[in-house]
């Protein structure tokens, strides 16, 4: 088969980006490309994690000549402190996002604007938390669930709830190693405290707090974010969509939603479907309104509404450079502060909505649960009004786009696995069919590919190389975030992509009627992957470290990613990184993150910036786990 007919290659994506970049030069804009160039030769101390700015005696930088800071902290202490601070920041980001969502849940009412869409999930969670449901109004329950959920952040005594969802062995290990988190804010605060001048200098102690803080994210903040978002907006289901900049339309009002928290983007989508909005649009003689997404907001609305995905992290400026973006609405996280400036080179209206992400040059409309829908309506009208300001001479929309199937939370995966059971032999509702396929060797294992783009390496290339090589080796891929977006752009996230797979993965795709890469959502939804791995281990009857399932972040860049990588490792799954964490100024820290954590939680990092080597490491790692199981 001619691969190029079906797949958009990284080279083709780069060709489009180049053309758009040339246009940026024409309008005197700049993009990350120039900025990355001008930031070249990054500070070696920063890169190695051995620059300490935690007090005003410094900054102190560790070198052979100056092996300790003024206070006496060595490279290991400094690198470990910086690393723990990154974990804390990442944990704070996901968790604060979850906190906002819990507040929205608390705000739900039968008459809206925000309502409970997945009542069953709410009731299940209430039961899990021993909250009475019998005879109670659903919104009464919702409020109590929100209150109990919010207590996970700052409970003064006791410990967090969701880690109790892990398999028994994992729970015991977390207790034994004393890394079962107490409360989200508590762990973040403890981490900040430990890293304050004059506190912990023992890298292992700092790493342990890193693990505990990260668990409060993966089995706390992120898991709450996922769970409550499902309750509010519905648990995602399988749906078709499209991806890449070709989803922007010439003859429609293009509104790009960007960020991570779907509370505002859900309101935007709802506003575009209102009759009064459509009438307003029609009255202006415009064909329609086209909402598309960027980054994880795209993932959120794609898997709940089929909203099309314009692209991932390093594509955010490109969306504006098409000249066809009439409005960009952002919420939180991963938003370039460069965007308002670039928007000014075009007619694009750039709108911020959260007090968490305030950017100079943006039109700020602060969105609260009370005003979200009214604000969204007003903004959509503004976008419609702005359509006529589009300068056709500046418009160039790349044609490339690909079809994709998205929306495989664990519930959908189980449902698809149920479809391949035989009612005369099997029971339904478990991961057994997948386990059987792995045990027999039909599937070699599964890899969760997650994470961002990073200009340190060729963007999207590592994702592409690793995903396609895993396909060829009968390894099922689950993906979230920008990795999922790459798969969408490339055309790997559709059922036809089975043709690029080995016979085993191809057959599984055919029998289950799934693509070889399952879209599980936004980066906050890596918590879904934890539940998937936990469920597989439980149904298998082994610990999570034993199953041939691993994580991989080929192009990660954010502090959230550092937190994620740590909670995945804490959950017993090895994590393969395509970007080196900034600790290599300390050999002890390099050893701790790759080997030392294995003694604590049974897993660690494997790091290689060459995707071809990294994917080979993944395959070898999976085969080693198989061999240990005798399969």
């Amino acid at each position: 088969m001619d691969e190029n007919k079906r797949i958009t290659t990284v080279e083709e994506m780069e060709e489009d980006s180049r053309k758009l970049h040339d246009r940026a030069c024409e309008v005197c804009g700049e993009t990350w490309v120039e900025r990355a160039e001008s930031q070249k030769n990054h500070c070696k101390f920063g890169e190695g994690g051995i620059c300490c700015r935690n007090c005003s005696m410094g900054p102190c930088r560790i070198s052979p000549k100056a092996p300790r800071g003024i206070c006496g902290a060595d490279a290991h202490a400094i690198a470990a402190r910086n690393y723990l601070r990154a974990i804390s920041a990442g944990t704070a980001s996901h968790s604060d996002h979850a906190r906002e969502i819990l507040h929205v849940l608390h705000h739900t009412k039968a008459e809206g604007p925000y309502i409970v869409r997945d009542e069953q999930k709410l009731i299940n969670l209430a039961h899990e938390w021993q909250i009475a449901t019998e005879g109670r109004d659903i919104y009464d329950i919702a409020r109590e669930v929100a209150e109990v959920g919010l207590m996970e952040f700052g409970r003064p005594f006791g410990e967090m709830r969701f880690p109790g969802r892990a398999p028994q062995e994992r729970q015991e290990l977390w207790r034994k190693e004393q890394i079962w988190p107490r409360a989200i804010d508590r762990e973040i605060a403890t981490a900040m405290h430990m890293t304050h001048m004059g506190n912990s200098a023992d890298p292992e102690a700092l790493i342990r707090q890193g693990l505990r803080t990260s668990i409060s994210n993966g089995w706390g903040g992120s898991m709450l974010g996922t769970e409550i978002t499902d309750i509010l907006f519905g648990t995602p289901t399988v749906r078709e969509t499209e991806g890449n900049l070709g989803v922007l339309e010439h003859d429609q009002v293009n509104i790009v939603v960007h960020g991570h928290d779907p509370v505002f983007s859900e309101a935007i989508v709802a506003a575009t479907e209102l009759k009064e909005t459509l009438d307003y649009c029609k009255a202006k003689g415009i064909k329609g309104i086209n909402v598309v997404g960027l980054c994880c907001t795209a993932n959120e609305v794609a898997m709940r509404h089929g909203v099309r995905m314009a692209g991932n992290f390093l594509q955010q400026e490109n969306a504006i450079l098409t000249g066809a973006c009439d409005m960009m609405c952002v919420d939180i996280q991963c938003i370039f502060p460069s965007l308002p400036q670039l928007a000014q080179c075009f007619h694009t209206k750039f709108v911020t909505s959260s007090p968490i992400a305030r950017i100079p040059g943006a039109d700020h409309y602060e969105v609260t649960p009370e005003n979200a829908f009214d604000t969204a309506k007003d903004l959509v009208k503004l976008a419609i009004d702005n359509y006529s300001n589009r300068d056709e001479s500046k418009v160039w929309i790349p044609e490339r786009k690909q079809k994709a199937i998205v929306g495989y939370p664990t519930e959908q995966i189980i449902k698809h696995l149920d479809n391949i059971t035989n009612s005369h032999v099997d029971t339904v509702g478990s991961y057994r069919p997948a386990i059987d396929a792995i045990k027999a060797g039909v599937l070699r294992g599964a890899v969760a590919i997650v994470g961002c783009n990073n200009p340190r390496i060729r963007p999207d290339f590592s994702h592409y190389e690793i995903i396609t090589e895993l396909f060829r080796n009968d390894i099922l891929v689950v993906a979230t975030g920008c990795a999922a977006q790459l798969a969408t752009k490339a055309g790997l996230m559709n059922k036809e992509a089975k043709e690029f797979c080995g016979a085993g993965l191809k057959r599984v795709c055919e029998l289950m009627d799934i693509p070889p890469i399952l879209h599980m959502g936004a980066c906050v939804d890596i918590s879904r992957m934890m539940r998937l791995a936990a469920g597989i281990a439980e149904d298998w009857g082994v610990d999570m470290t034993q199953i041939p399932v691993v994580g991989c972040a080929p192009e990660w860049m954010s502090e959230k990613a550092v937190s994620i990588a740590n909670y995945v490792v804490s959950s017993g799954l090895d994590v393969y990184l395509g970007i080196e964490p900034q600790v290599n100024g300390s050999d002890q820290m390099m050893n701790l993150i790759t080997e030392g954590t294995r003694d604590i939680v049974g897993a660690g990092f494997i790091i290689n910036t060459d995707p071809k080597v990294l994917v080979k490491n993944i395959i070898d790692g999976i085969e080693a786990k198989r061999a240990a199981l005798g399969i």
Partner: protein, 718 residues
């Protein structure tokens, strides 16, 4: 102890099959040289699996050795399913080599080891085409090894048979069935293949030949064959404990083709969803297999006595005189069957009335009068549908276990076996069958149905007169149905589940090439389900009436073949002839010397004067391919005035097998009389009694000249 890994079992098993094949080759090589011919009987596809997978036409022992080397090269052993699939298919190929060796120097090796039958002929494979398409055969199952008990073997076989699923038996289970007196053979769809595992190659061969015959998949298109069988051939394997590595290796091949394996062997067995299923309870094999392969079993609940089966599998059953309780023979006594439309108020739903004596009043072996009359009512019912329903009586009644039905109208012959009679079968049950089938198959147009069964001789005689008037009226109506006289033709894409790019265009004067779909059938099918396989083609203006070109017909075939076909002519076999699925009843091909065509039907095994058998001619077309000069068609199309009318019409027919000629004789004579003013035209057409082979072409010319055959006056076809 750790379980032996599934992939290792496949790899070891494939080594074992290869070693056995090498041994077979060594044994035959002791007596035969490399130029010795190698062939399975009555197939145009050489050694089917090897031909399908490699495109190699193995015709000599030397080539067979090369093929075995190829099979060996496929047995790769990386720990990936791809290697398991390749090794599994390599194992099937090695098994076919072993089987081929048996046929070296022995045309019928299986004749020596009853009940086993070995190779399945092309004609048999093609015969399965229509029932597979219609779902009358929901699929195939291969039983391998010995069932835990003889009784269980029979229970499983009967259970499949009752669901009309074709059963192949490999190994001891066939002996078990034989001990228990189970009737076996191709017609009853229980086919004992061979005593040893390699004979399973004959079953795989059926599946891959289906891909070439019906799917038009090119020999050697390895991936295409696998895709076709995976997507379209509903087969499954039931392997009884113990299942050794060599069987597991064959299972790897079966799964590669898309056929799940169900076994009760739990030792070192690794379940794989919908592919390798461990079912410890063999009594649940049947249901497990049906679900695993997603076979759609048609269920008609017919009220029949306990122990009397009802399934298409019984259609091929023959009741011999010695086993016959009673017979109604329309050629000797007044008998008939009739379906007619009635007013709703005149029909009492599900009323079954017997007029005359029931079966128990007759002596063993007696003759009787019998009239089966079904009256149907419904708002959408049309009198045009009467013969459509009535023609199904044959199949419906035949599907009763222990009942045989042949003929139609007042020339039916029905036999009821003693066994079935003893189980309590009575006349009422004919009514139950007709009622149940009419109501289930034609529920879109029939609201109510009642059946009256007459055995009273006087009453039947009166009815016969009345019925004949109806038959005559229908014939008149049929005669008036000409391609010119109607506004619509119909498409039929019923076969597309099997032959994805084929489209039949059904006209009043050209029935579907399977012989099963007339214009009236197509019309009824459309009425029953207007988004179904038969769609209206509004004829419109002809672009060329003589050759039979209509823009709307081209548009329709283009649309329904998904663009695979652009042009089809209705009346020429030379220019854009209509395509074939593969289940055509007959094929015609041009005979260059006489300028005529030779027609051969599927049942005729020997070589035709074209130097090819039916199978070989059939392999020239089929699978939606257009091959000018060759065309598949229905038997009754031969006597149509439109039969290749653009190329000279039925006057082109120079040869056909005698039984076929006799079947169409009267109508063909009438057509020739009308078209050319020739009497007894059928006698001018040669058959196998005159010309046996391509070597006798001079004899054919002599015969045609002697008879004054009209073809000699026509322009050459090429």
């Amino acid at each position: 102890m750790a379980m032996k890994k599934l992939f290792d079992r496949v790899f070891d098993g494939s080594d074992e099959m290869f070693a056995r094949a090498e041994k077979s080759i060594a044994e035959v090589s002791a007596n035969y040289d490399d130029s010795t011919p190698v062939a399975f009987p009555n197939t145009a596809y050489f050694l089917g699996i090897l031909y399908a997978m490699t495109g190699r036409k193995n015709q000599t022992l030397g080539e067979l050795k090369e093929s075995l080397a190829w099979a060996r090269s496929q047995m790769t052993k990386e720990e990936r399913l791809d290697d398991v699939f390749k090794s599994g298919i390599g194992t099937a190929c090695a098994a076919e080599v072993i089987e081929a060796c048996k046929y070296i120097g022995n045309a019928a090796p299986y004749a020596e080891s009853p009940p086993y039958l070995g190779h399945v002929t092309d004609a048999e494979v093609r015969e399965l085409g229509v029932p597979l398409v219609t779902g009358d055969i929901p699929g195939f199952v291969v039983l391998i090894g010995a069932a835990p008990t003889d009784e269980l073997a029979v229970e499983i076989i009967k259970s499949y048979q009752n669901k009309s699923i074709f059963v192949f038996l490999v190994g001891e289970c066939a002996k078990q069935a034989e001990h228990m007196g189970v009737g076996m053979g191709f017609p009853v769809r229980v086919f004992p293949v061979g005593s040893e595992l390699p004979s399973v190659a004959h079953v795989v061969s059926v599946a891959v030949r289906a891909a070439m015959i019906f799917g038009g998949i090119q020999p050697g298109d390895y991936e295409g064959i696998k895709k076709y069988t995976f997507d379209r051939v509903n087969a499954a394997v039931n392997a009884f404990e113990p299942v050794p590595d060599i069987t597991v290796a064959c299972g790897g091949g079966a799964i590669a083709y898309g056929f799940p394996v169900i076994t009760n062997d739990e030792k070192d067995m690794w379940p794989v969803p919908r592919s390798l299923i461990i079912q410890p309870d063999v009594q649940q094999f049947v249901e497990t297999a049906i679900e695993a392969r997603g076979m759609k079993v048609k269920i008609t609940n017919v009220d029949l006595p306990d122990g009397v089966g009802y399934a298409t599998a019984f259609e091929g059953e023959v009741i011999r005189r010695k086993d016959m309780q009673i017979e109604a023979d329309g050629s000797r006594h007044d008998c008939l069957e009739l379906c007619r439309a009635a007013e709703t108020n005149d029909v009492e739903d599900h009323k079954i009335t017997i007029v005359g004596n029931d079966l128990e009043t007759y002596e063993f072996g007696a003759q009787m009068n019998l009239a089966l009359v079904a009256e149907v009512a419904g708002k959408k019912m049309q009198s045009d549908f009467e013969p459509v329903f009535e023609r199904q009586f044959h199949a419906w009644i035949n599907e009763i276990e222990g009942v045989m039905h042949t003929g139609q109208r007042d020339l039916i012959r029905i036999r009821v076996s003693k066994d079935t009679f003893d189980k309590g079968f009575r006349l009422r049950h004919f009514g139950e069958v007709l009622y149940a089938k009419i109501m289930s198959e034609y529920d879109a147009v029939v609201d109510k149905c009642q059946v009256t069964i007459y055995t009273d001789p006087e009453k039947v005689h009166e009815l016969r007169v009345e019925a004949n008037a109806i038959y005559d009226k229908r014939d008149e109506r049929l005669k008036s149905l000409t391609d010119e006289g109607v506004a619509d033709f119909y498409t039929c894409i019923m076969c597309q589940s099997f032959s994805p790019s084929h489209v039949c265009v059904v006209t009043p004067e050209r029935l579907g090439l399977c012989g099963a779909v007339s214009w009236l059938d197509a019309k009824a099918t459309y009425q029953l389900d207007n988004s179904g396989p038969c769609q209206v083609i509004t004829k419109g203006e002809a672009a060329d009436e003589k050759i039979g070109i209509w823009q709307n017909v081209d548009d329709a075939v283009n649309k329904y073949s998904m663009g695979a076909l652009e042009h089809v002519t209705l009346y020429s076999i030379m220019q854009d002839p209509m395509t074939s699925c593969g289940c055509f009843e007959c094929i015609c091909g041009i005979e260059p010397m006489t300028g005529g065509v030779v027609i051969v039907n599927r049942e005729f095994v020997p070589t035709t004067p074209l130097g090819m058998t039916f199978s070989e001619m059939a392999s020239m077309t089929g699978g939606g391919v257009q091959t000018p000069g060759y065309m598949g068609h229905g038997k009754h199309y031969i006597a149509s005035k439109k039969f290749m009318s653009a190329d000279g019409g039925p006057a082109r027919i120079v040869w056909m097998p005698k039984p076929l000629k006799d079947l169409v004789r009267d109508k063909l004579n009438a057509t020739a009389k009308e078209l050319y003013g020739i009497d007894d035209y059928a006698d001018m057409i040669a058959d196998e009694t005159v010309v046996e082979s391509a070597d006798d072409l001079d004899k054919l010319m002599e015969f045609l000249a002697e008879k004054g055959h009209p073809v000699l006056e026509l322009e050459p076809l090429i």
